[in-house]
Symmetry: C2
């Protein structure tokens, strides 16, 4: 798919980049010791040089994966702002984030190990998701689905706490669901 | 405090052991890169050989520290089983465990780094604490202070989740308190 003897065309380069990100999200999202840039190149069907042309370091690759994931989640949250049932949107998205957490935490930990988020792009993307959750919370409070005396910091702390607990892996699905049910009951007005 | 030319007397050896454990709990409980067996020996005022006579490996030292801490917490929980207000005992002890969590997590992580809990003594001590929390939960449920449709697995998951969130360090005390208030409201009968 490259021009004969030349560099890949822009559209091919873009497709390669997307495929590398998809595979990297999958490989590093599973976590574990075997996750590596080599494995990403192999599964994406490109040479390691192509990976490094797009992402000069492992940290750059992981950062791009994490930013894309945060941005996607933020987009999902923003799309829910127009739904007719803000309570269902808030609680449903909370549940969705907890279910998604293991992958996000594995990628975030790998990024930390690889030297971190040097220019803060992942931190900014994470803050964007947090703001979107804050907007869902506001709407759910306006309709009385969430008590109006709680604020985003403790709601986000609970989200992070239950996400980490759920991602830890040794909790049965039923226990995770009952754990969230307790938190949601605590968030509902009496 | 040793017999001239001989080994320490039994009472001295015991006092040394206790002092080493106290200092190790403090040093490793603070976490960080500088925590080491050398620093424990120095702050306990004993030679490194004395530390290694009592605890042949760093893992053995950390395991003993963690076992003692779990046993102490279990004792505190059991002492609360006789109080006249089982609801206050349960919620108060939950809060106490969350406040205590940063130290316990730092020691547990150091133990993991040092090669782990090979004979399972720390795991057994942790299970003992969990059982004692279960007994506090039972009593609080019997008196109606905790709803009777929750079970220990999700209560413990919430305890671990909020402990990890609180230990993470970037939460203000007020946010931690409000986070726990939401969980406690979720645990109270409607």
């Amino acid at each position: 798919m490259t021009q004969t003897g030349g560099r890949p065309r822009r559209a091919d380069a873009r497709a390669n980049r997307d495929r590398i990100l998809d595979v990297a999200e999958d490989v590093f999202g599973r976590g574990g010791e075997t996750a590596s840039t080599d494995e990403v190149a192999r599964l994406a069907g490109v040479g390691i040089a192509t990976v490094f042309r797009h992402f000069p370091t492992k940290a750059a690759l992981l950062q791009a994966v994490l930013v894309r994931r945060y941005d996607r989640l933020r987009g999902q949250a923003e799309a829910l702002l127009d739904t007719p049932d803000p309570g269902a949107a808030f609680y449903g998205f909370f549940r969705h984030l907890v279910a998604d957490a293991a992958t996000k935490i594995a990628i975030g930990d790998a990024l930390l190990d690889a030297g971190g988020d040097d220019d803060g792009a992942a931190t900014r993307a994470s803050a964007g998701l947090r703001r979107a959750v804050g907007a869902l919370l506001d709407r759910a409070q306006q309709t009385g689905a969430v008590r109006d005396d709680v604020e985003l910091p403790e709601v986000y702390a609970l989200l992070v706490a239950t996400s980490r607990a759920a991602a830890h892996g040794d909790l049965e699905a039923e226990v995770k669901a009952r754990m969230l049910a307790v938190v949601f009951d605590g968030l509902r007005p009496r």
